[in-house]
Symmetry: C2
Subunit: 340 residues, 2 copies
DNA sequence: TATATTCACGAAAACGGTTTCGTAACGCAG
DNA sequence: CTGCGTTACGAAACCGTTTTCGTGAATATA
């Protein structure tokens, strides 16, 4: 049953392999009747061309890779959803690789992808990714010219396509909102000060402070980790100092849970004693206790536009998508956690 | 630069292609010095064997497919994380396909996978999946013997591997908990009454009712949709009838948000007027308003064990994983939404 | 009628690996 | 010296496509 390939088709039809191949792709070289015969038998036998033979011959895999730190995160999962939808519509397959925020995994994954397994890559780098050698090496060493598109977590000084959000402005606006609500001592919780998007957010944060003539100290930037327990300790410490903040901006969704938990345990009232904003795509933000003010990124749209850019880079010959640099606006959604 | 393949290696080393190939896989036929020469040059040139040539020859792709309704769901994303981790450790690649709860997409995806693109499939079926023809046809028509493993949303009467949770018991326990807390009129919110896991949960639900001598009526099973707005209407209707329920079990995480929203809008107090339990893996359940009692599935472990079973089915020759039927226990985590 | 063009198809190379099988060279026993 | 086994390697088939090029027949053109 299994041996339905182009050769067996040809044999049954008394045709050559090349004729069958051409007939199946509706070539003008083949007569209409022959095409009909071929197509109908192919359908009847559920002929499905071998993808590896095709990829080997054409040097095209009709596959893209998505390399992200995590999938259990509302931003990334929504972005992936957007990517997958565009890919499926274009007839592409999607390989998923998780880096778990580990630079070494990211490096290893890129090495695995140099051999043409995918036609393009979309990635959001690790919070550990400071060096860019592995990406540069990928660009230079990959067999073919495999385009790479960054989404959200990009590396600024690389000449590659980037689809991001307005991190500077949105963090500035968020900080201003906290100040307007009466906050004097605001902390920014980060998971990596090296990450480009975090740098921009921190710049926006500082900018709002100076606009309002509030002094900035480095202690206001609290660097967290990828370990949930450690984060709880860090946040507990932060909220137990006598000079504790009265406002918090969380740079990543994951940090919201420990903040809420610590506040509950330490009986710190949100928003009276502490106002909170988070970068987050949580659909559950409105039903938290209290509901959470968020800077919500258009995750799904980011995924979709990034995918569209990538496919343009893959399919348009003579065109490189490297100079694409699209910035989509995030939205500050004000809820109870920053009310008065 | 790009043309570093086994042929160019052979040429530079003055060896034949076959010798290089064997040397690279450490064959006993090749002398130690030759192996060293080959390996060192391969490393120096970053030789990476072409995956399609290899797959074509070996009829193995070192790739599995994960077919799920959605990725922006805490259960599926955690399960995928578990799957990806095992796959990466085994040197496998993971193709992700989203069905968006559409039977037709599921069918189309399976058709695409018949040609050997993947060595195995893990899937959680659509809420629309009533027929099983597409899966049967896949099993019978696929080129090679591609194993399929169901996780969570399985089809009971198919002879395929299934990794699920104790849906009957956990729903029974949850229902009993609601009854213990004083609920008299409990509704179960479902997204598909045909889904095997839902049937089992409903059975568990009924079982608890009869144990407690409470009459059951079909109206207690409220079938929701995949459309968020419709769901809100359905739930609003449910909660505005004069004989409205005093307890709710949500069969799927997505339905929690509308329930909370409607309660907020209609000023129905949780848990005083309405107690709520949800099947959910939300890490944010503890910080909802009020915190949510959940039946939490071991999503990550399900993904991992399902992947392990699949790889056994793929790699162990003469072994079929079809009879694997593993049931992992869910946990009822009691929080404020069902307190008195 | 002779020639050019079009039509419809087939032969064979190519993609880059793996694997089977053959064999030259060598050592060793008889 | 002959026969045999071992060692280390190479030739070639094969996996299933795509595509270039060639060709015989039919048709159009001069």
């Amino acid at each position: 049953m299994g041996d339905v390939n182009i050769r067996s088709l040809a044999k049954q039809l008394n045709l050559s392999i090349s004729t069958v191949s051409k007939a199946l792709k509706d070539s003008y070289e083949i007569s209409i009747e022959t095409k009909k015969r071929v197509v109908s038998l192919a359908k009847a036998l559920h002929y499905n061309p071998n993808p590896f033979a095709r990829s080997l011959r054409l040097k095209k895999s009709k596959t893209i890779a998505v390399v992200v730190p995590d999938v259990a995160d509302s931003f990334f999962s929504a972005a992936i959803k957007g990517i997958e939808e565009i890919a499926q519509a274009k007839g592409y397959h999607v390989l998923l690789y998780l880096t778990h925020e580990k630079y070494l995994k990211e490096k290893k994954i890129l090495e695995e992808l140099k051999n043409g397994r995918v036609d393009g890559i979309m990635m959001s780098v690790t919070s550990e990714t400071i060096q860019t050698k592995h990406i540069e090496e990928f660009i230079n060493n990959s067999e073919y010219n495999i385009p790479v598109v960054f989404f959200d977590r990009a590396i600024d000084d690389m000449n590659l396509a980037k689809i991001t959000t307005n991190d500077f402005e949105s963090c500035q606006v968020a900080t201003q909102h906290l100040i307007d609500q009466g906050c004097k001592k605001i902390s920014y919780l980060s998971i990596s000060n090296e990450l480009s998007i975090n740098k921009k957010r921190i710049e926006g944060f500082k900018s709002a402070l100076t606009t309002n003539h509030i002094n900035f100290s480095n202690k206001q930037i609290v660097e967290c980790t990828n370990n949930a327990e450690k984060n709880e300790t860090i946040i507990t410490h932060l909220l137990l100092t006598e000079n504790r903040p009265d406002g918090i901006i969380a740079g990543v969704e994951k940090l919201i849970e420990p903040v809420y938990i610590v506040c509950k345990n330490q009986k710190i009232n949100i928003p009276t004693a502490l106002k909170i904003i988070s970068f987050s795509n949580l659909p559950y933000a409105p039903i938290l206790n209290p509901s959470l003010t968020t800077i919500t990124q258009p995750a799904y749209q980011i995924g979709q536009t990034a995918a569209k850019v990538l496919f343009k880079g893959i399919e348009k010959k003579g065109y490189s998508c490297n100079n694409e640099n699209i910035m989509l606006p995030s939205e500050l959604i004000i809820r109870e956690s920053t009310s008065n």
